[in-house]
Symmetry: C2
């Protein structure tokens, strides 16, 4: 019963990976060796965790991961020099810049440097603008795109549905709202300044939380039979990973739900790999 | 009684203009002559009407309007050459490209050519991305910005309000939704694929219609006491200009409403002039 309600990320990631493997084989037959460069500054635990995930997904897909580690005190000039050389390196097809960057490196400067065609996680404003204009030649950030992949994999209808997105960050909430509007959903964006957020959320067919607040979303937010997508990655008082959703409180009411862990987070690296293949094809006119 | 409900554009435009005049005087004292270039292709009636409005607003503000008219069959190459020369011309501080462009000129190519600093009506993806990222160094498109100016002028609170935007165009609905989220509103975007749009709209404190469908919004869409902003410019069966709102049907229920004409449309050229001054200051480090 409970199991039937779970939207597990693994099945989605496996399905994406299967297609990526075929694409990579095709690219290799054409003489192209798909390569993802990951540009890291310093040694943050979150970066390393994501890097390990991205690394193993690449290898599973036949993509070559290439890690460039810069010192924590690396200057902006040095960072830009490195990024430019990756832009120009024709053996590199996609670039993932780990963020946030340390203070001495300004994101608003760097974002204009990365080649939009290699920018597979939507760092460049050019790709962000393409999300607003519903132009599919760009790349959405991997996390909101992972949400869409999950809904599609499990045949959950998006068009015409009333969807609330809780959270308005630049990396998740805002682009996700645009992606859902592009798919003809009726979308509301709620956030910390929303009045009566519980009541407001209750009318949603699909409720997506990306607030980053542990277990904030309880049964009061949820309409009976709703689909709940939990993008949050938080840690509870005992140090256990948890989402934005108080799982036990909502499980009776929801029709479907992504758990944390084993939900949205399991899909992002597959989206990254999918974008890498797209970039690779574009760069080689294939 | 009825008059008290009207949010007239003229008062907003007058107030903006008053401030712009002061800024222009200051700029002229600094030896800068604020100049707006308007780039037109062919002779469309809508363009000419807007051009006349922009022209007279410029003159009222002390801004020099400069109109460049290209032939209807002008090539993309020729258009880009003209645009580049305006980018480079240091006597020009802002560029307004009339759109839509004729078919032979691709917007997705041209939008990357215009200098983002001179792009005072948000044609460039760089400026569009700045709206999403709540970066006030760019320029919003003039029409959605005019909506914000009206709400502010009439002291209508935005933060925390439930606002529905009906319409999701790239020039109005989408950027307007982002501008309102930036101002801490809870924003829902509805459109032609929204189910029960009347019922959905009813819970809005502020309802903004930019669907471009004559008199579609009637009393069934409106909560008693709501504020209604009508961005539509349409023509009814008798050829009279009208908005998206069926004015007579809603007037009893609303607290405030922008009429059409004399509403939002009366404010856009003042926003354009305001943006021109901003560009002028930026270009001259003033």
């Amino acid at each position: 019963m409970l199991d039937k309600k779970l939207l597990l990320g693994k099945a989605v990631a496996d399905s994406l990976t299967e297609n990526i493997i075929k694409d990579v084989e095709y690219l290799k037959n054409e003489g192209v060796n798909p390569t993802l460069a990951m540009l890291k500054v310093g040694n943050r635990e979150e970066d390393s965790a994501y890097q390990r995930g991205a690394n193993s997904r690449c290898i599973k897909c036949g993509i070559e991961p290439k890690i460039i580690e810069l010192e924590e005190d690396c200057s902006e000039e040095e960072y830009i020099k490195q990024l430019k050389s990756l832009n120009e390196d024709s053996s590199v097809h996609g670039i993932l810049c780990f963020r946030p960057l340390p203070k001495q490196i300004r994101e608003e400067v760097v974002e204009d440097v990365i080649d939009p065609i290699k920018d597979i996680d939507c760092f460049s404003p050019i790709n962000m603008a393409k999300i607003i204009s519903n132009d599919s030649t760009g790349y959405a950030p991997c996390t909101p795109k992972a949400v869409i992949e999950i809904l599609d994999y499990y045949n959950i209808n998006i068009e015409g549905e009333n969807i609330s997105v809780l959270g308005r960050s630049l990396v998740v909430g805002r682009p996700l709202a645009m992606l859902l509007i592009n798919r003809n959903a009726t979308v509301r964006v709620c956030h910390s300044k929303t009045r009566d957020i519980e009541k407001i959320s209750q009318d949603s067919d699909i409720l997506i939380s990306c607030m980053g607040r542990a277990k904030m979303v309880n049964e009061k937010f949820v309409k009976k039979g709703a689909v709940l997508i939990d993008v949050g990655i938080n840690f509870d008082e005992d140090g256990n990973m948890c989402g934005d959703v108080d799982f036990d409180s909502v499980i009776e009411k929801v029709d479907k739900i992504t758990p944390v862990p084993r939900g949205v987070g399991s899909v992002t690296t597959s989206v990254l790999a999918k974008h890498l293949v797209k970039a690779c094809k574009k760069l080689n006119n294939l």
